[in-house]
Symmetry: C2
Subunit: 214 residues, 2 copies
């Protein structure tokens, strides 16, 4: 028979993942992020491609604890974040991809909706958390806002996916050293990876169990 | 500069993916599913591990066209499906993971919530579409309903993820030959993979563009 108890499943999964994180010079908190990403993808190939800025853990903890908001590129990321845990800190999660003003700007400029959404957020991103799981263009736009418009998010979780721009956008995220980030190099990524990262940070702050929707 | 136009991004992505699908003996429709999965994951390693039942394409098309419903294990899957396209056919998408009766049954039985949700759906699954992107236990439960309670979903998109039960549940899905399925062998999978599969099927039926949330 198979294991049906959600806590037993999670514990067993983490035990299976742990050896794959050895030798990667990760701190304990960084291991939590990496193991949640591997857990969410079923892919141990993620372990060596995760990149975490050295200030990320501290800044993420203080930002989340202060009740700051999360801005996502797509609804799947918004929907996957553990909202019960997140709400305890007082923040809200915003996604504008389906809003009318976003659609209009995207159409007018010939850009993706998620890129338009980040442009419209603009100054609202100052001091907040960004979680991009799908669109390289959204990450390119956030990096432009940082570079050209002096906007300063607290942290950027930037794991857009795919063969067109994703690796380049994530390289640019790593190359800027000012805003702490979590990313993965290369083409892989996605909403599940962004969600796993945010939830890993939440679990560091609130370790009550029953956290995974399974 | 990077490509900002969503249609150009998608076209370029599909051109990059196409060579990775050669030599896999896929039909044109099966290639659409595989390429969407690779596109959604940024991982060409998915191409050889996708498994599609020979009747899947025909049954999926007729079931979706008939306005049947989709039952998902987690909210991320519900949320990622292209709802505008899906609604044209008249179906609805259901997810019970957060409902009170699901929580109560899961707690009482010591099982996962997504497993409890499938058990409560029960007879409602007859003739409908199931999309499981997260929990192996949900897929085990659906296969039990088929085997022991004579429930007959039209198709099962079963791509649960992880190191505890996922590979086994997906092997069982392949071993039963009665219900057409899409799955991936091994530990990989996830909500994004389930969503990519459902959306690929929708695009076969309704090829108006602007389909990807980017």
């Amino acid at each position: 028979m198979f294991i049906k108890d959600p806590m037993a499943i999670e514990d067993r999964s983490m035990k299976i993942i742990a050896p794959h994180l050895e030798g990667l010079a990760l701190t304990d908190d960084e291991k939590i992020i990496c193991s949640r990403i591997v857990h969410a993808s079923g892919d141990v190939g993620y372990a060596p491609i995760v990149r975490i800025h050295p200030d990320l853990i501290d800044v993420a903890k203080s930002t989340l604890s202060a009740g700051k908001n999360i801005f996502t590129d797509v609804e799947m990321v918004r929907r996957g974040i553990n909202i019960r845990t997140f709400r305890k800190f007082g923040g809200e999660i915003f996604c504008k991809i389906s809003d009318v003003d976003t659609r209009e700007l995207a159409k007018r400029e010939g850009i993706t909706r998620s890129m338009a959404a980040m442009r419209i957020f603009g100054k609202r991103l100052d001091g907040q958390i960004i979680a991009i799981g799908n669109a390289p263009t959204a990450l390119f736009e956030v990096l432009r806002l940082v570079r050209d418009e002096n906007i300063r998010p607290a942290i950027i979780i930037g794991v857009p996916v795919g063969f067109v721009g994703a690796a380049e956008a994530k390289s640019q995220l790593i190359a800027q050293r000012e805003i702490p980030y979590v990313t993965v190099v290369g083409t892989k990524g996605g909403s599940s990876i962004a969600v796993a990262t945010v939830n890993a940070l939440l679990y560091m702050l609130d370790n009550s169990r029953g956290l995974i929707e399974k």
